[in-house]
């Protein structure tokens, strides 16, 4: 998904670090990585540690980190739009021409911002100020870290073969952090393969009403 961008920018001291938030590990994420054959590092995060550290609630989410290890853009949606909600046939997964155009606009604007930062560094308007980074990164609440605790304990029990014991922890993680689509969809998928993109997913998306699934990014 990011190979073109990486090929274009890799000689400018730029790296893509892709992290699969996937409790299914290699068995789930592996086939996608093998099919795409990316030349940038693709890491597998079965416990969703990166989501916890960076307060990510959905995929794709991204953080920009400069050469000194400083965050210059905190967690935000990485070039995705809500077009799929209204512009996609839910049976055939076909997206309308209008939907494709909307998707392209969002992604192109985001990629152009990344190109600008890669070229200009701190001078790029897309590397936001320290205060702005702080303003945009709220960090977790007590409920959120407790949700993470439920997810981690459930995920451990699940991988140990205690599926039934894991499920109540998963449902509590979803309740404590309702904004986390990654907890919701990951735990649904562990409950029942296919559930993450099935009718439960679509009813949850529809229940958003006017609210965003992918909140628009202020570039």
């Amino acid at each position: 998904m990011w190979q073109g961008l990486y090929d274009e920018l890799k000689d400018r001291s730029f790296v893509v670090l892709a992290v699969a938030l996937d409790s299914g590990g290699v068995a789930s994420a592996g086939q996608w990585i093998l099919a795409a054959k990316p030349t940038y590092p693709c890491l597998i995060d079965e416990r969703h540690v990166v989501a916890e550290l960076y307060s990510m609630v959905n995929v794709p989410s991204a953080v920009w980190i400069d050469e000194a290890g400083r965050i210059v853009r905190p967690t935000e949606v990485a070039g995705a739009s809500d077009a799929f909600r209204t512009q996609m046939d839910r049976k055939t997964k076909q997206v309308s021409a209008e939907g494709i155009a909307d998707r392209q606009r969002t992604r192109t604007a985001y990629l152009n911002a990344l190109r600008d930062w890669t070229a200009k560094g701190a001078e790029s308007p897309f590397a936001v100020s320290r205060d702005e980074v702080r303003r945009r990164s709220s960090g977790p609440s007590d409920e959120h870290v407790f949700a993470a605790a439920h997810f981690r304990l459930g995920e451990y029990l699940y991988t140990q073969g205690h599926r039934e014991a894991a499920l109540p922890y998963f449902s509590e993680a979803r309740r404590l952090h309702p904004a986390s689509w990654s907890y919701r969809r990951q735990t649904w998928e562990l409950e029942e393969p296919g559930k993450a993109g099935g009718p439960d997913f679509w009813s949850a998306v529809d229940a958003l009403g006017d609210r965003s699934y992918y909140p628009p990014v202020t570039l």
Binding site: F14, L21, D22, L43, I44, Y54, W64, I65, T118, S138
Partner: protein, 140 residues
């Protein structure tokens, strides 16, 4: 009984311990191996940071003979989320929300270590000196 400790991002660590309701008493060796915490004259220390045991409440934290330390009491004192499954003997200790927020406010990107498809480990720190586009995805 046998208890598995999941301490923050550390790998699962099995110990022999005595859970007592919401308390978990560990030998000092297990405490160090499972979590990195060590008892010193100045308090209980980990990764160069020491936390004094609150005065007058020593008995909640430490037992003398045999020497045991209550990891759950320390976690509560540090406002860490703690969760235990008594049927399977698993205890999870997370990071306090306050610490996570302070880390993000420092603007330094928190480090992590994760494997790639071949099992090679990568940490964020390996890529210091480059601009990093850290991006999540998922198969689900």
């Amino acid at each position: 009984m046998s208890v598995t400790i999941l301490y923050k991002e550390q790998p699962p660590f099995p110990v022999m311990a005595t859970p007592d309701g919401d308390d978990l008493w560990l030998t000092l060796d297990d405490l160090r191996s499972a979590t990195g915490w060590e008892i010193r004259p100045e308090g209980v220390c980990r990764e160069g940071q020491c936390v004094p045991i609150p005065e007058g409440r020593e008995r909640e934290f430490v037992r003398e003979s045999p020497p045991r330390f209550n990891l759950a009491a320390l976690a509560r004192w540090l406002e860490q989320p703690v969760l235990h499954d008594d049927v399977h003997g698993v205890w999870f200790f997370g990071e306090a929300a306050r610490v996570r927020r302070e880390t993000l406010r420092s603007l330094q990107a928190p480090d992590f270590r994760l494997p790639d498809l071949e099992g090679r480990m990568h940490s964020l720190a390996n890529y210091r000196g480059k601009k990093i586009f850290l991006v999540s995805w998922a198969s689900w």
